[in-house]
């Protein structure tokens, strides 16, 4: 395999590591604090999948859009959503990104080009195409990324959108994050045929990526996004990666073979691989990464504390943001 580390500046490498580390710490905190009963609602964590979100979103500006899924914390952080406002939202507070009305499954910050996490599998994919359509209609060079899971590949909305994007030549990247499972069902069983072949069938440029390796993600996504930006038509990324926690918080994940997650954490963890490769290539030092680790821990201490203290939404909030007047 080619060595992808060389092409990166230390600044970019450190920024990437910081965001990935922030996502991991964010998810670990929510996992712990949810178990303590601090967090309401349905929670889906993306720990293990950081390199994909960051490797892609580092090539996007705030004017480029992404649509995400129920497993959307990592995508949101990678797209620049505020850590504190995200935590406040997940803690159901008025100061949250969506004023406490959306929660984990509906995180969004339009000002950052983040159209939204989504409670409906496949629901965000056409929305991303809509952002790409805007770019086409206005002849701008903005692109959109639809993040979705292996499970969502089997929704009609996703397949219709791939075809629409091809036919209309939309500047969109379909980023399929294949973590091996849709809920309790393996993707190897649920996807008939081969995922990239399916996308090729729609005429999309198709790439298979190891989502455990940030450097591969970053480099390939960069080239693909540049092509799409240049008007070469929609592309499809098949990203193999791993989720560490259950499908949702509370899922014992007994459908996974014993030891599967431990093995992946030991051998393929994206933060570990990043550290090994970047230090070995003398791109950054271990001390620099350690320092980021500490800073991120302090940042998340602050975010959690803020979320705990922040005021709740009030009765009036129930009847705003809807056309009905009372």
């Amino acid at each position: 395999m080619t060595d992808h580390t060389i092409e990166l500046s230390p600044e970019v490498a450190l920024a990437a590591y910081r965001t990935m580390r922030t996502i991991r710490e964010f998810e670990d905190r929510i996992h712990l604090n949810n178990a303590k009963g601090e967090i309401p609602g349905f929670i889906h964590l993306s720990a293990g999948q950081e390199a994909s979100a960051v490797g892609i979103c580092m090539h996007l500006s705030e004017q480029d859009h992404i649509a995400s899924t129920h497993r959307g914390h990592g995508h949101s952080l990678a797209k620049g959503c505020d850590v504190v406002a995200m935590m406040d939202e997940i803690y159901a507070k008025r100061s949250g990104l969506c004023a406490g009305k959306g929660g984990s499954m509906h995180l969004a910050d339009l000002s950052k080009g983040m159209i939204g996490a989504n409670g409906i599998v496949g629901g965000g994919v056409p929305l991303a195409a809509g952002a790409a359509l805007k770019s086409k209609v206005l002849s701008s060079d903005r692109v959109a990324v639809a993040f979705f899971g292996d499970g969502a590949l089997n929704e009609g909305a996703t397949m219709e959108t791939m075809n629409l994007a091809k036919v209309l030549n939309l500047p969109i990247i379909f980023a399929m994050e294949d973590n091996g499972y849709g809920e309790a069902t393996p993707s190897s069983w649920a996807i008939g045929g081969d995922a990239p072949a399916r996308a090729r069938g729609f005429g999309l440029a198709t790439y298979s990526l190891d989502g455990h390796d940030f450097f591969q993600m970053y480099q390939t996504a960069g080239a693909v996004i540049a092509d799409v930006r240049a008007g070469q038509g929609p592309a499809f990324l098949h990203i193999n990666l791993s989720r560490y926690y259950g499908h949702f918080e509370g899922d014992a994940a007994s459908y996974r073979p014993q030891g599967e997650v431990d093995r992946i954490r030991d051998e393929k963890d994206c933060l570990m691989i990043f550290r090994h490769k970047s230090v070995a290539a003398k791109l950054v030092t271990a001390e620099q990464l350690d320092q980021i680790d500490e800073e991120v821990i302090r940042q998340l201490d602050g975010a959690v504390e803020h979320a705990r203290q922040a005021p709740l939404p009030t009765a009036e909030d129930l009847l705003t943001d809807v056309y009905v007047s009372y």
Binding site: G102, H106, G119, G156, Y255
Partner: protein, 335 residues
């Protein structure tokens, strides 16, 4: 007779009907779980564990996991029903009807009539509804009103384990497509129910409490809140009749009107959206058929006409509570 949970009651109804009729089969997402994998089989038994254990007894050809493709598998269940089977499809949350609504609204509901009576669609779609879990806008809706609006669909919403079992067995044997709505807050609710098989007719309401002052109509989980409100109001010398409608379609109009004739007052309590919804429908029925018996305006206790909020602080205000039901009853009585 024994004490069962709501979850158990549904599981029993399914297994009894599957034993009785080889044409009954189950299809849905992760209704077993772990299909095709190297971990535990039947790992979930549905996201709420309702179908757990059925894979072991009936095998993968009758307990069928699917890819996440609601249009395809709900549609396939409709097609199987139209060609002679009795499928019970699980639509994990009723909110996901948005994905497959053509199949429900334009296919399942219409085939029998549109094809001049040639086809019947003996299908049950089991689906979760309801709030209270802070599951936010796309996982908390109670869409019985939407389904009731479509001619050809029957709509059932049990309020306790006894009803859950008897109504589900009846729904499976019914020759029309039935939307069977399970409130997600009730799966661990316990109640007495017969161990043997039994049916409860669709469209037959039940008087779950008798009282001469006012008629309180609702269904599903809200019935239990109405009963609690009625209990507490006895301290204020208010005696309520609580009607558990069990179904919105067919609707037991007679029981509602008979009760209004006795009490002269009506409160309708519902968790669904208010506009063009169940509560408005019952109020209209009262206006059209029982106007002369009504001694005061009908009172509706529903959520506001908004999307369902995530924050517990807001969701608590959104869902009708025992307090709000009591207040509605007092207002209807002018006390």
């Amino acid at each position: 007779m024994s004490e069962k949970s709501f979850r158990q009651a549904i599981n029993e109804a399914l297994s009894m009907e599957m034993r009785r009729d080889p044409n009954v089969f189950l299809i849905g997402e992760d209704i077993a779980g772990g299909t095709g994998g190297d971990g535990e089989e039947d790992a979930w038994g549905g996201v709420m564990g309702v179908t757990k254990g059925l894979l072991g007894e009936f095998g993968a050809h009758r307990v069928i996991d699917t890819p996440i493709s609601e249009t395809a598998y709900i549609g396939a269940a409709i097609g199987a029903a139209a060609t002679g089977m009795r499928p019970v499809a699980e639509l994990m949350f009723c909110d996901f009807a948005g994905v497959c609504f053509d199949q429900i609204m334009n296919q399942a509901a219409k085939l029998r009539y549109m094809l001049g009576g040639q086809a019947k669609v003996p299908l049950v779609i089991r689906t979760q509804c309801g709030g209270g879990f802070n599951a936010a806008a796309q996982h908390s809706q109670t869409l019985h009103g939407l389904f009731t609006h479509i001619p050809g669909l029957k709509v059932v919403m049990p309020s306790n384990p006894y009803e859950a079992k008897g109504l589900l067995i009846e729904a499976i044997r019914d020759d029309d497509p039935v939307m069977y709505m399970e409130h997600k807050f009730m799966y661990d609710d316990k109640g007495e129910a017969p161990d043997e098989s039994y049916t409860i007719p669709l469209g037959e309401a039940c008087y779950s409490r008798d009282g001469e002052d006012i008629t309180v109509c609702s269904l599903g989980r809200m019935v239990n809140l109405c009963n609690q409100a009625a209990d507490e109001l006895q301290a204020e010398n208010i005696n309520c009749t609580v009607i558990d409608l069990r179904c919105t379609s067919p609707l037991d109009e007679e029981s509602i009107c008979e009760s209004i004739a006795e009490t002269g007052h009506l409160v309708v309590v519902d968790e669904g959206y208010p506009r063009c919804g169940f509560a408005a429908d019952i109020a209209a029925l009262a206006a059209v058929q029982a106007q002369s018996a009504l001694r005061a305006p009908v009172k509706l206790v529903t959520p506001p006409h908004t999307t369902i909020p995530f924050a517990p602080a807001l969701e608590e205000l959104y869902i009708p509570s025992v307090e709000r039901i009591k207040q509605g009853i007092r207002e209807a009585l002018g006390v």
